[in-house]
């Protein structure tokens, strides 16, 4: 029996900076996971992935990954995506550094 579909987001890395980005419901890319589009339907997920892949020349490694709905938008369900959302744990670099500088 196929596994039930779980909600997804689309993520990738920015071509020039290399940092983690998320596909939004307005067909743009955001550096904030909270602004990602949470896709609840399997067929829709595949269509949205095709849409995102149109940007393959300026983003790298586009893929669907599990997420869940949170108070401020999508949240990761796996620690790998949690680290991608924040940055490394040995320095406040990456997105946590950017957040600290806002």
């Amino acid at each position: 029996m196929p596994r039930p579909f779980t909600p997804k987001i689309i993520t990738a890395n920015d071509l020039l900076e290399g940092d983690v980005i998320y596909f939004t419901d307005t067909n743009s890319w955001s550096r904030e996971l909270t602004e990602a589009e949470l896709i609840e339907d399997e067929a829709e997920a595949q269509l949205r992935l095709l849409e995102a892949e149109k940007d393959a020349l300026r983003v790298v490694g586009i893929y669907l990954t599990d997420a869940k709905s949170g108070d401020n938008g999508p949240e990761p369900t796996h620690f790998r995506e949690d680290f991608r959302r924040t940055g490394p744990s040995n320095y406040r670099h990456g997105k946590q550094e950017a957040a600290a500088n806002v």
């Binding site: 890395n13 071509l15 020039l16 900076e17 940092d19 796996h78 490394p88 040995n90």
Partner: protein, 554 residues
């Protein structure tokens, strides 16, 4: 050390110009990522979890001060102020921007450094003994041969698209500081009838299937090095499996075909290939060897060293752990620990790199080495300079006296940076180091190697750690397996798994239980952890690690 000639300089300039154009074409959309990826990987540029990563080769781990300053420049100008030294004697920059990478490569080329073949299914950076040309137990300096191999393997048309990456290590000493038995090819200088040659070991490697290499030739004349290596590579290229990347390394080729079959095939090819070598390689080796003339070591007494050793316990502690015997009794080999307790193993800031470059110039005949253990070495320091050197190291936060001790941990970048990792390594290493610093047990515990990998690929060499730790993803949670009894030296051994893994917050207490058990089991303060393990076996350590299981049995 080797200095680039006009050909080398022109080669790098041309190669960098080529890559600059490729980057431009990727940015303007002329190249897709599928087209660009193999090109960037050929130049050491990966895409990791949070950013790009540029991996720069430090051939056989040898640097001069200008080269170290160039590494500092890259860290400061195009990264976040630090670099990460790895187990392959490379340095990795974790935050470069794509557009900047060609400039970074040009800056490296100015001092004779590059990132070629630090990635891809090709012959990787050749590693060597970090005490080369200084160690008391050395037969011959292995670095001229390593340089010869580097020049031979760089852009070698036959070996650019191997079934998998290929790693060669070389040592000139009886003590193996280059982990030669865990490489695709390990080369160890040996003597026969008073003439130095190579013991050739093939099929070692860690990763998913950890194996200790087998001796394919117990003595190879020096002049036959390249044709013999070429023959091994040619047989691997032919027989190596390309149907399954997990079975593609030469260790599997040797395992599946048997060392005798491989030896027979290699010898057959060797007879053909050596005829194609007309001696040009030997002329080149002569030229290269001339660059590795040892420094003219100065004389003078060592009174200041002896006085400081007697008077200053902090200096004495550092000298006892961080110095190694030099072939000249008035000199010492200094290992600078870049493993301050609680810091990331292998990371050095730009300021620290510059500091080390200055100290190498002032006290170390302008030579530095990077060890596979992720430390920096000044191979030749006159003992009378050691107190002044130590004082300067303190100013740079580089005087940690822990070389070979429990906090001198090898740790791969793990899931904090690496796209392949399945768990984090760095914070585990940081916490173990901090814990034992707080317990003030480190020097009492003595020689102990902990090696941590964040995935099965084993970049942290966990299989050959006295205590190995492997981070895995178990049902969406970080989990850490422990192995015991691994050994990276000439008595190489793969560690044995203790049992079920530990959650992230359980791994440091588990290591502490292991150490407590060792302290109660050892028969004297001189018996190392590895010796105790070999004497008493796994059971008492297992009992310490899994006390709940013991209760159930009772």
């Amino acid at each position: 050390m080797y200095k680039y000639n006009d050909f080398d300089t022109a080669f790098l300039a041309e190669r960098n110009a080529q890559f600059r154009a490729q980057v431009e074409r990727r940015i303007d959309g002329s190249l897709t990522e599928d087209e660009f990826k193999p090109l960037r990987l050929m130049n050491g540029l990966y895409l990791q979890l949070h950013a790009y990563m540029l991996r720069v080769a430090i051939p056989y781990g040898t640097l001069n001060s200008d080269q170290m300053r160039a590494l500092a420049l890259l860290a400061e100008k195009w990264d976040k102020g630090y670099g990460h030294f790895t187990t392959r004697q490379n340095i990795q920059y974790n935050w470069p921007k794509l557009r900047d990478v060609p400039d970074m490569l040009d800056a490296l080329a100015e001092v004779g450094l590059h990132a070629i073949q630090t990635s891809g299914n090709t012959i990787r950076n050749v590693t060597s003994d970090h005490f080369a040309a200084a160690a008391k137990d050395e037969l011959t300096d292995p670095r001229p041969y390593a340089e010869l191999i580097r020049q031979w393997s760089t852009d070698h048309p036959e070996f650019q698209f191997l079934g998998r990456k290929f790693k060669i290590a070389i040592t000139g000493s009886s003590t193996d500081r280059a982990v030669t038995r865990a490489h695709d090819i390990g080369l160890r200088m040996v003597e026969r009838d008073g003439v130095a040659g190579f013991e050739v070991i093939v099929g070692g490697g860690l990763g998913r299937t950890p194996l200790i290499g087998k001796v394919i030739r117990d003595y190879l004349p020096q002049a036959d090095l390249l044709p013999y290596l070429e023959s091994v590579l040619a047989v691997y290229n032919l027989l190596g499996r390309r149907d399954n990347k997990y079975k593609a390394r030469i260790k599997i080729t040797v395992l599946e075909n048997g060392i005798d079959t491989i030896r027979e095939m290699v010898e057959e090819r060797f007879e053909e290939r050596r005829r194609a070598f007309d001696g040009t390689d030997q002329l080149l080796l002569e030229e290269i060897t001339a660059h590795f003339t040892p420094p003219k070591l100065r004389g003078g007494n060592v009174e200041t060293y002896l006085a400081a050793y007697d008077a200053d316990p902090v200096f004495r502690s550092w000298a006892d752990t961080n110095l190694a015997a030099h072939r000249d009794d008035n000199h010492a080999i200094v290992t600078i620990s870049i493993k301050a307790h609680g810091q990331t193993p292998g990371d050095a800031t730009a300021a620290q790199m510059r500091g080390m470059a200055d100290l190498a110039e002032r006290f170390g005949y302008n030579e530095l080495r990077i060890s596979h253990e992720q430390n920096v070495i000044l191979p030749h320091v006159h003992k009378s300079d050691l107190p002044a050197l130590h004082a300067k190291l303190k100013e740079h936060g580089l005087a940690t006296a822990n070389v070979g001790l429990i906090s001198d941990i090898i740790a791969c970048p793990g899931m904090d940076y690496c796209a392949l990792a399945t768990a984090r390594s760095i914070p585990v290493a940081q916490e173990i180091a901090s814990r034992f610093d707080e317990l003030k047990l480190e020097h009492d515990v003595g020689h102990l190697q902990i090696k941590i990998s964040g995935c099965i690929n084993a970049c942290g060499h966990h299989h050959v750690g006295h205590i190995g730790i492997l981070g895995l993803d178990r049902a969406g949670v970080e989990n850490y397996q422990i192995t015991l009894g691994g050994d990276a030296t000439e008595t190489a051994a793969i560690g044995t798994r203790t049992g079920p893994g530990f959650a992230y917050d359980e791994i440091v207490p588990a290591v502490e239980r292991l150490i407590t058990a060792y302290l109660s089991l050892r028969d004297s303060a001189e018996e190392t952890f590895l010796q105790t393990y070999r004497r008493v076996g796994m059971d008492p350590f297992k009992a310490a690690l899994y006390p709940e299981a013991q209760k159930k049995v009772a």
